[in-house]
Amino acid sequence: MPIGRLGLPLLIALAFAGSRAALAAEPVVLMLKDHGFVPAEIQAPAGERFRIEVTNQDGTPAEFESSDLRAEKIIVPGGKITVIAGPLKPGTYRFFDDYHPDTAKGVLIVPERQAEK
């Protein structure tokens, strides 16, 4: 039975047929300076996919990492990266620079959705 041979291409074909969550237009902007995040606290809307832009202004490499946000990306000195996160439930999500985890850490806060009108 060629289940293995048929199943995989079928799955791959199906993979491209799905739909994606809406992406927020405005990215959340972060900066790494003196091995700390500026700002160290950011906000993002609940239930939406959004981008986080991180610029590394230090002279050494950094790695933007967060298991809460499922992000792990290296930033060269002077470099800028974008990661996509979410959709998130209201709550607090931690992130840090894996190369300077003691000083470079921050939180992303997703506030409770306000009642409509």
Binding site: M1, I3, G4, G7, L8, L11, A15, F16, A17, G18, S19, R20, A21, L23, R49, G59, T60, P61, A62, E63, S67, D68, R70, A71, K73, I74, I75, V76, G79, I81, T82, V83, I84, G86, P87, D98, Y99, P101, D102
Partner: protein, 282 residues
């Protein structure tokens, strides 16, 4: 010093688990030591090169260079593991049969070794590039006590290598008759985990649909960034908040390898032993 030890150990540990399994899975294949050492050396060299060109990789593919690169080498490793798995399914039967096929098997064994050396290289490359950049950062910042940090890094490499060796030794303590069944499952799970990771990386960058961004959340029970969580992540692709496409890729590769190996074993030339043939045929 402790901080750098922990960071370096974590990366080497993850690569070391893969190396330990590959070592056990190639037990008894001639010249595997040289091939796998070559794989580690190539991975280390690649990691240094990758660190050197990190800036170029970062800006490639509209800022998705890191994701595309990581997913590509993971998929390459999945293909190599699959090749080995199917080869073992064939090889095992032939080894039990006529020994005159041995000459051909040695040539085939070389190809399987190349595949496994590539898997080792990919594992070392992925984790190694992070270690190289981290240590480079320490050296470049020239801040006080960088010698101690480097020493911590060296100890981290040593400890990680010890874990790898420990895993290998405990695997080869398994009786030979059972060893390849165990390593067969480990290789299949390793490949499935890598396929899941590749899918998660691509979906994380919105390059493929996610099919659900979080199927479940077991981060309270077993956080992926704890040492047991990391070990399971490296070994079987554990994720505390998996995406739908991640689970799908994991299941697809695991099923393909288990079913594929079974079919290959059935289709492989059998030894001329009619009684055995009759007994095993339905």
């Amino acid at each position: 010093m402790l901080a750098s030890l922990v960071i370096v150990f974590r990366e080497v540990f993850e690569a070391g688990l893969v190396v330990g399994i590959v070592l056990a899975a190639t037990q008894g294949v001639a010249a595997r030591g040289a091939w796998l050492a070559g794989g580690i050396a190539a991975g280390t060299l690649g990691a240094a090169l990758l660190a050197l060109f990190a800036g170029a990789v970062q800006s490639a593919f509209a800022g998705n260079g890191q994701e595309a690169f990581n997913a590509a080498i993971l998929i390459a490793a999945v293909l190599m593991l699959s090749w080995h798995q199917l080869w073992m399914a064939r090889h095992g039967r032939q080894m039990a049969g006529e020994m005159k096929a041995l000459g051909r098997e040695v040539a085939l064994g070389r190809r399987s070794l190349f595949a496994m050396a590539l898997v080792v290289a990919v594992a070392v490359l992925r984790e190694g590039a992070e270690v190289v950049l981290f240590l480079y950062g320490i050296a470049a910042s020239g801040h006080e006590g960088w010698g101690a940090l480097m020493l911590g890094g060296a100890l981290g490499v040593l400890l990680g290598a010890l874990v790898s060796f420990g895993l290998y030794r405990s695997l080869v303590a398994i009786p030979v008759a059972k060893l390849f069944t165990v390593t067969g499952w480990l290789i299949a799970l390793l490949a499935a985990g890598m396929a899941g990771q590749a899918a998660a990386i691509l979906a994380g960058a919105d390059l493929i649909p996610a099919w659900g961004y979080q199927l479940w959340d077991t981060s309270g029970l077993l956080p992926e960034d704890s040492i047991p969580g990391r070990a399971l992540h490296a070994l079987v692709g554990y994720a505390d908040r998996p995406m739908g496409v991640q689970l799908a890729a994991w299941l697809a590769v695991l099923a393909a390898l288990v079913v594929g190996a079974r079919q290959t074993r059935q289709a492989a030339p059998r030894p001329r032993q009619p009684s055995l043939l009759q007994r095993r045929s339905p």
